[in-house]
Subunit: 700 residues, 2 copies
Amino acid sequence: MEKLIMVMAFVGSVLALLFALATAFKVLKFPEGTDRMKKISASIRKGANAYLGRQYRIVSVFFIVMFAILGAMAWAKLLTPFVPFAFLTGGFFSGLSGFIGMKVATAANARTANGCQESLDRGLRAAFSAGSVMGFTVVGLGLLDIAIWFSLLKFVFKLAPADITSAMLTFGMGASSMALFARVGGGIFTKAADVGADLVGKVEVGIPEDDPRNPAVIADNVGDNVGDVAGMGADLYESYVGSIISASALGVSAAAAIGVSDALKFMALPMLIASIGVICSIVGTFLVHTKEGASQKQLLSALSRGTNFAAVVIALVSWPLVSRILGAEHWKVYFAILGGLVSGVLIGQSTEYFTSASYKPTKDLAATSETGTATIIIGGLSVGMLSTLVPILIVAVCVMLAYCVSGGQTQPAMGLYGIALAAVGMLSTLGITLATDAYGPVADNAGGIAEMAGLDASVRERTDALDSLGNTTAATGKGFAIGSAALTALALMASYIDKVNALPGGAEKLSNLAINNPTVLIGLFIGACLPFVFAALTMKSVGRAAQSVVQEVRRQFREIKGLMNFEAEADYARCVDLCTRSSLREMVLPTVVAIIVPIVVGLILGPTGVVGMLAGATASGFLMAVFMSNSGGAWDNAKKYIESGKFGGKGSDNHKAAVVGDTVGDPFKDTSGPSINILIKLLSMVSIVFAALVVKVGLL
Amino acid sequence: MEKLIMVMAFVGSVLALLFALATAFKVLKFPEGTDRMKKISASIRKGANAYLGRQYRIVSVFFIVMFAILGAMAWAKLLTPFVPFAFLTGGFFSGLSGFIGMKVATAANARTANGCQESLDRGLRAAFSAGSVMGFTVVGLGLLDIAIWFSLLKFVFKLAPADITSAMLTFGMGASSMALFARVGGGIFTKAADVGADLVGKVEVGIPEDDPRNPAVIADNVGDNVGDVAGMGADLYESYVGSIISASALGVSAAAAIGVSDALKFMALPMLIASIGVICSIVGTFLVHTKEGASQKQLLSALSRGTNFAAVVIALVSWPLVSRILGAEHWKVYFAILGGLVSGVLIGQSTEYFTSASYKPTKDLAATSETGTATIIIGGLSVGMLSTLVPILIVAVCVMLAYCVSGGQTQPAMGLYGIALAAVGMLSTLGITLATDAYGPVADNAGGIAEMAGLDASVRERTDALDSLGNTTAATGKGFAIGSAALTALALMASYIDKVNALPGGAEKLSNLAINNPTVLIGLFIGACLPFVFAALTMKSVGRAAQSVVQEVRRQFREIKGLMNFEAEADYARCVDLCTRSSLREMVLPTVVAIIVPIVVGLILGPTGVVGMLAGATASGFLMAVFMSNSGGAWDNAKKYIESGKFGGKGSDNHKAAVVGDTVGDPFKDTSGPSINILIKLLSMVSIVFAALVVKVGLL
């Protein structure tokens, strides 16, 4: 059976990659438009390439150091010798996902703008195809990496299931580390450029967004690609892989706990569900098209048609598969997968309710601009904080359901396996949800190019329609990312406990996991603090980087004669270079913190402290991620709502207040918020990888 | 022995109350100044009285309903018959603490302004005396309530120690409920008025703070009294009483666990330490005086002389007492008390570092105003988030230390008793720390009166010196409030576990407190979410109330002819009335949420879910309280730093940006942040009081 599943996994991954390749060629067939458009697109591409090149150079130093450390630990028999290599491949594939996504996105931006000159549908096709390349690259590479390692360890090295999952969790750590670098670095770049461009251009000088006179305008567009595309690609690769391998790991323990001899079945189920998800997603993409003059609603329904189709087919197909693979007595585990799938959608809807201008919260937020900047800031912060309630209840119900249907009351290990499978279910449609999500930045860039190249206003209207839709799909995408992060983090916490219990002397050290045990409690406090500190560090970084951009942009407006009346051109490259340098400098500290803290906590407070830390970080990280993402989303859309002519419209004092809100929201929703999702998983993976060290030399 | 301690407690409380009374007479002997000053002071007094009168009417409805519910539960034998009455007295005394504090503060404001006409020392004496009345009223009433109930239950009704502490925890719940109403209602009032006055007056119209032309100026001053004085009084009454009774309750369990027959000694120790603290604090107040032309530093050292004296003497005296009372084998428990005392000071210093313009974080924050409003908002949020790290480490070390020195490794119950005693140690100097804290709003009001009455500029300078000092002492005060809240909440969580274990069938329901038990985890998630939701609700309330004030103030500037050139007077009363109505309307929901949630969680998830919820709420509540208070403090002082002439000074664009930051910080530091301290304790107390119901009829 497991060979068949591995074949399925290879088939799924290869299909996904072939589909991505074919779609990439389709994108390249779209014409790029006028020379001016080509030139702009080329500068964006150049900036993005330069950034990624430098980022990878810095990150590779980190990977070499970690490889050496893990190698030394393997040499000291604290890890299996596969671990250092698994770590590298995870990092490599995660980076590659982002790189390919960025390549195709920077190729598609001018093509989308050009497509919009022709028709809305053509624009949508160009942008959505680019998104699809990214979506299917992520899932294809993810499955491929898992399938290769699994086959290697199982069929070549003939390791036992527990050793296989243990090595595989390490490439999760590699993927998470890379993802964190990409998200934080890209997030700082994009927001520093965005804040810099907006604050001086829109607020101080009063020129429109994406105006070619703004020196930071190219940097802003580069940022969309390195942050929202490359960063997101690495991030979701990490989520996808993390959910599958943590479920596999817990499958091994579940099988052991209920006395099933063939653990491989339990281990392989998550991969099978993922493979089916890939195939359904590919079919789903063919359903996404629209006709000219389509309304927002019709555009949205074009996109949802694809994702809904994929979700429904996965739900139908997994039903018989679960009982087939796990045995008829475990057929209820199916509901854990279904619960995950549904919860992802529900969290997405809650996100949409709190952040879309179609609903009360964001409309009310726009109204607070009547009384100035301070009230819209207070209002946005409280919308975000309030919006944590519904997602947390959804996750709570999902966890409880997944645990109980899988038989957790009598067999806790089965219950935990169910929770991990819920995360796999939630991410099973990632291929297509990511496609609908990643197309947003492409449309955004296309709008920028249309503006800078001086295309007809109707083109900008079309790109705006696509972009604004992108905000809604991004909200749904965030729902999946955040929800799956919480479930996966809980699953990884369970894997950590398993791992420590399996180590010599580990079980004894973990004997008192009660929440009123002081080491657990203190771990909980410290863990809960980490997302706050992490958010602070990343925001400070954005602030510092943005300040330098603001000063540079102001300088150029002041010193370059004739810039305002189009007689001279701004020095775009300097802004790009400035953003690159500052974001790369700022990217290192937060990631290093995320890696060192779990080790230090483990060495001082022992494994019980680590478990407390993981629980605290997961709870507070989930809340902070939802809070920050939703505050940011609500400010963004409140601003757009005002720009649509409400409360005085563009240029009014209300609009100025809303722009400040949006600017504060930028690092919230695109730097700190999404990074926290990665943080909480990275903490667990680091804890797992260093568990043997902690148990051996730790104080408690 | 325990009779002697009770006598000490009565002596301590009566001394505190007599000292407060004498000091109140001293305050009244100061002359009130000119007719204009008397008139302004009278309007403030009138507004504050009217507000409190209406607040108490609304709150009394709540207390009657709760009395009926608790009465019904007592009738159903789920509670002892003393519980409903204890609940009422807790609420009554908490309210009374706030009321007396407010009375004397409104009597002292004009007197302080008048004193400052004469000399700085005279102004300090008037303001500090008013603060002392409040400080000693709080501790006096707190000790009195505890002593009366203890004597009644022990010597009249002859209850067993466990039943005594159980009933006494209920008056903690009464006190916390009242405190939450007072903090939330007063906090909304003061910030709505403040935001309204600042936004229109300072930013839009461009008149100075406290300018008599501003229609919201009286409301702003009333707000200082009902929020910063009456709210804080009720709040700290609750903290003080909560720490003592939770320590007493855990003393009973600790005595039982180590097989000491005379539990009363363990129970009485916290009261004894509190009594000693009162006496040392009284002596300390006599050390507070200054000479004319004293610098900020000298003023601060005048205040610290008093508090440091009190702290050192308490530390010296408790040493022999601990071994005397608990027995020589438990002498190390002393270090728990000392650890609490020191931790409070350290948290205060960390708060000062992050929020005072003498240090880097706030100076850097002021510099972010160079690039506009958005960057100062981002900067302030990140300062606040980053500032959570040090206090959480201090609390972690304090908890670990208190647990270990008390012998927690072998006797967990003793360890928990140690944690509770650390909170008592931290609050033992409350009489004098509160005096130095509560004098701030009086000085603030005095400055307002000086401005409105058109006194000489030198007077305003003196009141400003006093006020600015108040910001520093307030930071220290907040350190004690937040630190003690976390420790007390942990102690109350332990009391809850004891309580449930003692109920029939309770121990079984609590058997799996492991943090990876799903009910515990889900409880943790929900609990961690509560401070976010609570902060959102209170901020939204401030936002709504402030919006109505802004509109009213704008209307008056627009419609009252001659207001700007002093020919007509603003309609102050209307603003006061508006603030009163909106804050009272908004005060109800957050408090009701805090009471209903623990009951619902208990009924659905069972006692393990409640424990998870309490741990989650304590961790995330502590973080949110520190974050919000410190962000607010840093913005406030960054603004003051700019006003002192840095970065363009008053009226510059930088200053305008800083004013927006300060305005956002207002509800952070004076409404949401401090309310969360009360919330986390109220959640535990409600859980304890309703434990019998939950165990009896809950699902799990």
